[in-house]
């Protein structure tokens, strides 16, 4: 229940924020978000800044340049854009920390099972992929050339694809063996 509420509040907040254009309001809300996150603020803020740096710096710098050449004002836009993007990203990262996704979607059993299985499968694939990478590194002498790296990336993705096909079948049998499909229409 708590997680579903959290998810809903966050959704409303995020959509609402895109309707706000006054930097004073955006700044105020950002401070409010910092207060809400409490001790987690510095860590979250750092991650948010890293996440948005590339796009925001490029867009801001580009706009300042083009507006200056045209002799138009730019200050308000730069503050507004950066505050809004930072606020949204900060809120999302904060949510990601708080939210138990599985609990948030348990209003729909099918969705819940999809999420649980997906998280598990991501783990399996990641382990496989990291094994592949480590094996590749352990078998390479020095830095492999472009052709070798391309071939290895192709093999990795191919192995994942094959594994996915097998996993899907195996999980399906595993669920059937436990009677999962007998209770459903």
């Amino acid at each position: 229940m708590k997680d579903r509420l959290l998810l809903s509040v966050w959704l409303v907040a995020v959509v609402g924020i895109t309707f706000i254009h006054d930097p004073v309001w955006l700044g105020g809300l950002l401070l409010l978000a910092f207060a809400l996150a409490g001790k987690a603020t510095p860590g979250l803020l750092k991650r948010a800044l890293v996440a948005i740096a590339l796009v925001n710096i490029a867009v801001s710098a580009g706009f300042v340049l083009s507006a200056s050449i045209a002799g138009e004002p730019w200050g308000l836009f730069v503050i507004r854009l950066n505050l809004r993007v930072l606020l949204l990203t900060f809120l999302t990262l904060w949510l990601a920390r708080q939210l138990d996704l599985v609990r948030a979607v348990d209003f729909s059993p099918s969705l819940k099972f999809v999420v649980v299985l997906t998280l598990g499968q991501i783990k399996t694939f990641q382990r496989l992929l990291s094994d592949y990478r480590m094996a590749f590194r352990s078998r390479s002498l020095g830095r492999p050339d472009l052709k070798t790296r391309t071939r290895s990336a192709g093999r990795q993705a191919g192995a994942l694809l094959e594994k996915a096909e097998l996993q899907a079948t195996e999980v399906n049998l595993g669920m059937r063996s436990r009677g999962f499909f007998d209770d459903r229409a």
């Binding site: 959704l11 867009v59 999302t92 996704l101 999809v114 299985l117 391309t150 994942l160 399906n172």
Partner: protein, 213 residues
């Protein structure tokens, strides 16, 4: 390449949600029918695969690398609608688990990079497969990547039309299509080639397409 939150006006992303909703509904129905009881495990595995595929790097000349999007591969291996659905779920997971990407722009990203890329890839592949399997895969995936880059550039490019404040400064993303098209599309001509090559290699390793598109 996907668009983060805060750059797109509500008019645009809400419209995208309105367009994406029937597409998602259709995709769920179609996938449920084709996969019947294996829907849940299959969708989960596909989503996990798509999620992990986006972490495989395409090596680019000069020691750098770019991310695989993987939609073309999923679309060719499993069909347009499963690829679209799996990719949409990936966007949700990336946003809710890691705060990457955004939820307001979810529909925009899902339509441009999921549905459009998948449909273009499969469509072009069908047209060209008569010329040879490799041609179909390579050109199909490349077209899918480029078309989705064009769509993303256009969505960003219309943002200056979405309003300005009293001083005439834009409320959202500030550049028109004359800027976004070259800046976004040109790099994707190369990224698309890398992705196409990788997809072609993967499909030739695994041999054959498993589920009819």
């Amino acid at each position: 390449m996907h668009i983060p939150d805060g750059l797109i006006a509500p008019q645009v992303y809400l419209a995208a949600y309105a367009a994406a909703a029937p597409a998602w509904a259709y995709a769920v129905r179609k996938v449920a029918r084709d996969f019947d009881e294996s829907l849940i495990p299959r969708l989960a595995v596909l989503t996990a695969l798509a999620f992990v595929l986006t972490t495989v790097m395409i090596p680019l000349p000069g020691g750098t690398s770019g991310h695989v999007i993987g939609v073309g591969l999923l679309a060719l291996a499993f069909g347009i609608w499963p690829a679209f659905l799996a990719y949409s779920l990936v966007l949700v997971l990336q946003s809710l688990l890691f705060g990457a990407g955004g939820i307001t722009v979810l529909a925009v990203n899902a339509l441009a990079m999921g549905l459009a890329a998948a449909a273009v890839t499969v469509g072009v592949h069908r047209l060209l497969v008569g010329w040879g399997k490799s041609v179909g895969v390579l050109v199909g995936v490349w077209c899918g990547v480029v078309v989705s880059a064009v769509l993303v550039a256009l969505v960003l490019g219309v943002q200056p039309q979405m309003g300005t404040d009293a001083t005439g400064q834009p409320l959202f993303f500030p550049f028109g299509p004359a800027v976004t098209l070259p800046v976004i599309v040109i790099p994707h001509l190369i990224i698309g080639a890398g992705e196409a090559l990788l997809t072609w290699m993967v499909l030739s390793v695994t041999g054959r397409r498993r589920v009819p598109a």
